[in-house]
Every structure is written in structure tokens, then in C-alpha cells.
Symmetry: C2
Subunit: 414 residues, 2 copies
């Protein structure tokens, strides 16, 4: 059985780098209604130009710009109005020298015209004639047919989860069905003889409800994965190995919350090691909380063994599991986390060589130069630490702590 003594403690970056290149999910077609947050497999190129025709950007008159040169309040240019463009229709008229055509914002520029004068710079003096009091340059008041997007231009990159404005762009160029990575299926296995399902009404002495599986499922959903619960497995290496073998067959990533005692953790490590090559790449990560973490791969499926207490498990999953869900799901341009700068209200020690994750509560009183970050203290076994925190700060491996009053970057829960 591979004990921890065979593996030296690694940093988070080393652990992620040590995993062989794993799988990336296949593609599926989705419509615009289901595309938010999904990850395009290929860059999207515009099949057509946008807006597709020269459009007016103002209400006014389509003209030949040369007809307005020198126009002023004192010496206006007089143009004959030879018609009007209707929204959504082809312009039925042509603009020739000395003439103007009435335009709505967004209307198609008539042939012959090269600019649109804003209505605010005109006056209708008699029926059929308009007075122009300011000159326009060619192209003024007009968006070119390909000014937004040219034919064949890349409008969206591969690997970046689709954002709301991206859906507008896809609609505009008429791409209403597109190829995105399937949601990575993340198997969630809980171990521990003490665990019972959350639905259990009354607990026998020594039992606790499985909190980790529900919290992990939430994190997985938040980053675009599809959680697949495998329930609770007793601290029995044979039973655990059977469940894990099923999971690596079906899932793109498997997460097992190891039992909290040393014996249970060693059993988990043994079961994971027996899943096959390349096996365990790292046992023990230089994080607090979260040291007893297992990083492994079975075939092309990463397997993550999390500490047995919920706070540590959440911290480790945030640092290692979330990047893996993204990687497996084809996301190469990671959306930003919400963050804020804050001032630390007390000194926080840390050991060099170890990454410390400190839960903090924010006081948004900006009277004293920005929010204050209060470290939320408590054993890592406490869930209330997590739910009362507004976010966390990370003290890097090379730092030896933070001083009271230090300016810190807090990653916010959402």
C-alpha cells in the first residue's frame, strides 16, 4: 500500500503540472438558449458581414457630403428631399447631387449617399426642401456594411465560456447552433463509516451527515461541470475500489473525500493506486488547510482525494479541482473570479513553503479607505467558518505571513 512516505509534499502548481495530459470532453451541439457559459470547441467565424449594409447611426437625412461643405446657420445648404427610407426595407430611392433622403436611425443608406446629417442640424423650411446648417464629412452618421464584423472574421475564440454579449453576437451573425464541449461529468464519492445521507432525520451517536458531497456538487455546477453523486462508501478498501472503478469508467474526473483518520486516508490511497497507471502522482500538498490531498490519474481520468473535513475539502477543490474541471471541459480562457482589495485587521502567520488559505469576513465600511478583512478563525472541521466568510485570501508559498493592516486580495464567494 503506498503510504505517504513515498511521496514528497508538492505545491499546488507542481501537483497540477505533474498530472499527465488527460482527456478533454467531446463536443455537442447547443442552441442559443442553452449556450450561456458553454465552451466553444472551435473559434466562431462570421458567415456574413455585420451589419450587412451601410446603416444610418442617427435620425436625419442621407446626402452627398460634398453638398454640405461650408454650410452654416448663416449660410445653410438647401437640398430637395426626394423620399424617405423605411426601417427594414431596401431604400427605394437614390441620392443624387442636390438631393437628400429622410433617414431613421438604423435605416439602410440609399445608393449615391455617403453621409447622414443629424436631424438636429437641419430645418424643414418648406415641403420638399431641407436646410442643412452644418457640414458632414463622407462616412459621418454611417456604419459601414462590414464595420462591425467582416465576412470570415473570428468573432469568438474557442475555449472561452460564452458570456451574455457573445450570445448577442452569435444571434447577429445567424449562428444559432454551435459546437461546445460536453459538460465534464465529475464523479463525487464520499467515504467514512461515520457518514450518513443528509436526509437522515435522526443520527445514531457518532454519525454525521455527508456535507461535502452537496457542497462539491455546487462548486462543480458553478464552473460548468455535471456532478454525478456516487453516495457514501464505508471505510473498506475493496468496496471503495469497486465504486472508484465504476466512476473512472463513466466520469471525466473523480473526486473522493477520504475518511478523516489516517487509516481511512491510507485505505483511500490504496484503492486509488490500484485503479491502474499512471496512478498517484502526488500525496500531500503544501496547503493549509488541506495537506492530506491525493492527486492521481487512472488512464486519462484525473482522480482527486480530498481531506475528510468540509472546509479543507472545499479549499482543496477550489485550488485543484476547479482548474481540473475547466481543463477537462475544454476551457482554456478561464473567467475571472470576483475579487476585492481589503485591509487585514490582524496579523496572520504562515510558514514559508506552504500555501495558506485564510477565510475572511469583510466589513464593507469604506470610511477608512476600503473594506476591512477579518480572518474567520476556527477549527477546519467547522462548516460555520465557511458560511460566515465572505471570501478567502491566499498566502503564497514564499511568504511568511501577513502583517496587520496589509492590503490583501480577497477572492469573494458568490
Amino acid at each position: 500500500m503506498p503510504g505517504r512516505e513515498f511521496f514528497r509534499t508538492r505545491t499546488v502548481a507542481e501537483a497540477l503540472a505533474a498530472l499527465p495530459t488527460g482527456r478533454v470532453t467531446a463536443s455537442e451541439l447547443v442552441g442559443l438558449d442553452d449556450a450561456l457559459g458553454r465552451v466553444p470547441v472551435e473559434p466562431v467565424h462570421a458567415p456574413r458581414q455585420l451589419p450587412g449594409f451601410a446603416r444610418s447611426t442617427v435620425d436625419g437625412y442621407a446626402v452627398q457630403a460634398a453638398d454640405t461643405y461650408g454650410a452654416s446657420d448663416g449660410l445653410p445648404a438647401y437640398l430637395d428631399v426626394s423620399g424617405a427610407v423605411a426601417m427594414g426595407s431596401a431604400p427605394g430611392v437614390t441620392v443624387v447631387a442636390g438631393r437628400a433622403v429622410a433617414m431613421p436611425t438604423g435605416g439602410a443608406l440609399p445608393p449615391g449617399a455617403d453621409a447622414v446629417v443629424m436631424v438636429e442640424h437641419t430645418q424643414q423650411v418648406m415641403p420638399g426642401t431641407v436646410e442643412v446648417t452644418r457640414p458632414v464629412a463622407p462616412g459621418e452618421g454611417v456604419v459601414r456594411a462590414d464595420e462591425d464584423v467582416a465576412v470570415g472574421q473570428q468573432v469568438l475564440p474557442a475555449g472561452r465560456p460564452l458570456r451574455a454579449p457573445d450570445l448577442g453576437m452569435l444571434a447577429a451573425v445567424g449562428v444559432t447552433l454551435l459546437s461546445v464541449h460536453s459538460r465534464p461529468v465529475v464523479g463525487i464519492v464520499s467515504t467514512g463509516d461515520e457518514l450518513v445521507p443528509p436526509e437522515t432525520a435522526e443520527l445514531a451517536p457518532g454519525q454525521v451527515r455527508d456535507a461535502i458531497a452537496s457542497a462539491l456538487a455546487g462548486l462543480v455546477r458553478q464552473v460548468g461541470g455535471a456532478p454525478r453523486p456516487y453516495g457514501i462508501v464505508a471505510d473498506d478498501a475493496g468496496a471503495l475500489e469497486r465504486v472508484l472503478r465504476d466512476a473512472v469508467e463513466v466520469c471525466d474526473l473523480v473526486v473522493v473525500s477520504a475518511g478523516s483518520s489516517v487509516g481511512a486516508r491510507d485505505e483511500t490511497a490504496g484503492a486509488v493506486a490500484r485503479l491502474g497507471p499512471p496512478g498517484i502522482v502526488c500525496h500531500g500538498i503544501a496547503i493549509r488547510p488541506g495537506k492530506p490531498t491525493l492527486v492521481a490519474q487512472a488512464g486519462d481520468v484525473p482522480v482527486l482525494g480530498l481531506p475528510g473535513n468540509p472546509l479543507s475539502a472545499m479549499v482543496v477543490f477550489g485550488l485543484l479541482g476547479v482548474p481540473l474541471v475547466r481543463r477537462v471541459g475544454g476551457c482554456t480562457q478561464v473567467p475571472p473570479e470576483p475579487r476585492t482589495r481589503a485591509r487585514l485587521t490582524r496579523q496572520v502567520p504562515s510558514r514559508a513553503g506552504r500555501l495558506d488559505v485564510v477565510q475572511v469576513r469583510l466589513d464593507e465600511d469604506r470610511g477608512h479607505g476600503g473594506p476591512q478583512a477579518y480572518p474567520v478563525l476556527g477549527a477546519s472541521a467547522l462548516l460555520s467558518v465557511l458560511t460566515s466568510a465572505d471570501g478567502y485570501l491566499v498566502i503564497d508559498e514564499d511568504a511568511t505571513g501577513l502583517d496587520e493592516g496589509a492590503e490583501v486580495d480577497v477572492t469573494l464567494y458568490r
Copy 2:
């Protein structure tokens, strides 16, 4: 017909404040699998204490702390081991003076014990006897039965969208079904004779595909709402009024993207005004882009008239629509937006009294003291401005622009 002249331009805050208190959605029951991001109607109180029994936080031996006082490497305390606690079981033994019971991390503390000595500070010298080389204080190595949560304690507030760790807390206290606000139904109406559905393969001259509806639906989903598309209505006040009447019957909030020309906008304003009291509270917001915005309410349903071009519509919906979706959906503790500090690469002018929203692209090269924010320029009719931006910055009403090199807060797209 209420023209814009009857309404003075308002700031965003004034417009939101001017809306009478509207509806808040009713409640529905959801299970933990569907609870992420949902908004609890009432605070959640713990029906039981957590962890529910005194638990060991280490692998070691349960003892009476007094038996270890003065223990050291040179003068260890010797205790008889009178049994072991198994995970998930009631402790079958009692600890009396001079005795110890073997404990796994997370095991239930046996009666009589008041501390747990870490296994690292013990040595098994002969079967049935353990040598303790460090003293422990009462309570050391133990989490109290109610240390995480006391019975009846509030564990989650009302009005804060549920986060992943919150789901863990709910599971831990056995609350697997809870009352949350229904998702606010947001009616989305597009107007404009030039608009055609995104699925339209070939466009006639002057036509454009409806981009706003898809982009708005994405924004609505992102903040927990349920978009309800009403399709495209031609620029005809009667037809628009009929669709809007249907929408305010069924929806919790209605958004109509007004046609882009002055005439179409006035028709939209007229149709909205005829929906009934309290009616239009503001026509024209001091935002760029986005000035021609309409804020109204029909009964207790807010109605928002957005500018006809996608960029302006998205900006206005972000500033006014998103807070309304949250308000209607019972969200009183708004989750943070992702933000970053950046340095502006060029001067951006702004007029005092008007809020300017400037799209920016970020260069994450941190070689020169943090990311650089490049304003993305282009007409507000261009969708490519939005999709090539990484986020936006807001120049407040009281500012008159930003200097090159200014440190700015960029709200990031996700």
C-alpha cells in the same frame, strides 16, 4: 403621447429609487440539488446542533487532561489503554483516571474524557499501555457538540443567493428541502420593423437579426431570472401595447428594446404609458451609452424600455435591469461582481452629470504594475465592441473624465 420633454433626465440611482415598491416573487420548495444560487425566503435556523457530539480533531488517545499534566519526553505519563472508539459508533467505553481510549479523527469522545492527545505525542511501550510525552489542556483535540452550530442558531440569512458551501451547511444540519423565491420571470420584447429572428438564413436589404433578445436572456439567466421571450413586434403602437399587456399579466418584470429611431421610441413610450398606473417614472437616463431609456411600472410590474442598439441595451440592462431582477427575486444581499484594478492607457473624457460606461480590453501583462485597461472604441451600434471587451469601467456622474495612467476599477465579463 408622453414625449421625452415631460420627463427630466435622471441618474441611475434616481431612476431605481423612483420606482414604487414592486412585487417580490412567491416561494417554492427546492431540494439541495437545485438550490445553488437560489434565494432563501426566510433565514435558515439549525434544527440540531453541529457536530452533534464532542468529536476528536486528531488521531490519538482520549484522556482526562489532568492525567497528563507535567508529562514530558523525560518524564512521560503512563496510561492504560482500555479500548478504542470506532468511527460512526457510540463510544463503548468510559475514560476514568489513569486510563486512555484510542481515538480516530472525527470519532465521538467517550464519557469521562475531556481531551485527546495526538498520537504523535504518545508511544505504545507495551500492549495495553501508552506513554504520553506532552500535557494536554481540557478541551484540547476536541470539538464541542455545539461548537460549529448551536440548536436554533441562524446558519444562513434570507435574501443571499445560496453558495456552494451553504449547500454543505444545509446538508450537515439535515435541511434538504427549503423555501426559496421563485425565479423572476422576465418578459423580453423586441421592437423594430428591421428585426428578424436570429434563425433567418438570408436577410432582405435593411433587415438585421435580433441580437438583443438573446444577449438579454443570457444576462437574466446569469442573475437567477427566467427569461420569457415574446419575439419581435413591428413598430406599431397597437400591436406593441397588446404584447406588453400580455407580458405584464404573466411576468415579474418586462423589458422592451425600443426601436432605434425617435419615432419608434416614442411609440414604445406611448404603449408603455397606456399600460396603466403608476406608468412612466422616468424617460431618459444620464448614461452614455443608453440615454433613451424608459423606466416605468404597470401595477407592481416594472417595465424597462431599453435603447435599440445592443451595446447600449446591454449597458442599461446591467445598470438598471440586473438590480431589478435581483430585487424582484428577493435578493437583498447581492453577490459581488468580478472586478480588477487596472491602469488606463489613455485619457477618457466624460461630462459631469452623466455616467459613462467605457468598454475596455485588459492586457494582463503585470510587468508594469498590474493590468492595463485599453478603452475599446467604436460606435455603440457595434456588437464587436462588447465581445472584444474584457469588462467595463464606470465614470461616475460627478467626474469629468479620467486621465491616462489613472487607476480604475474594471468590472469583468464572465
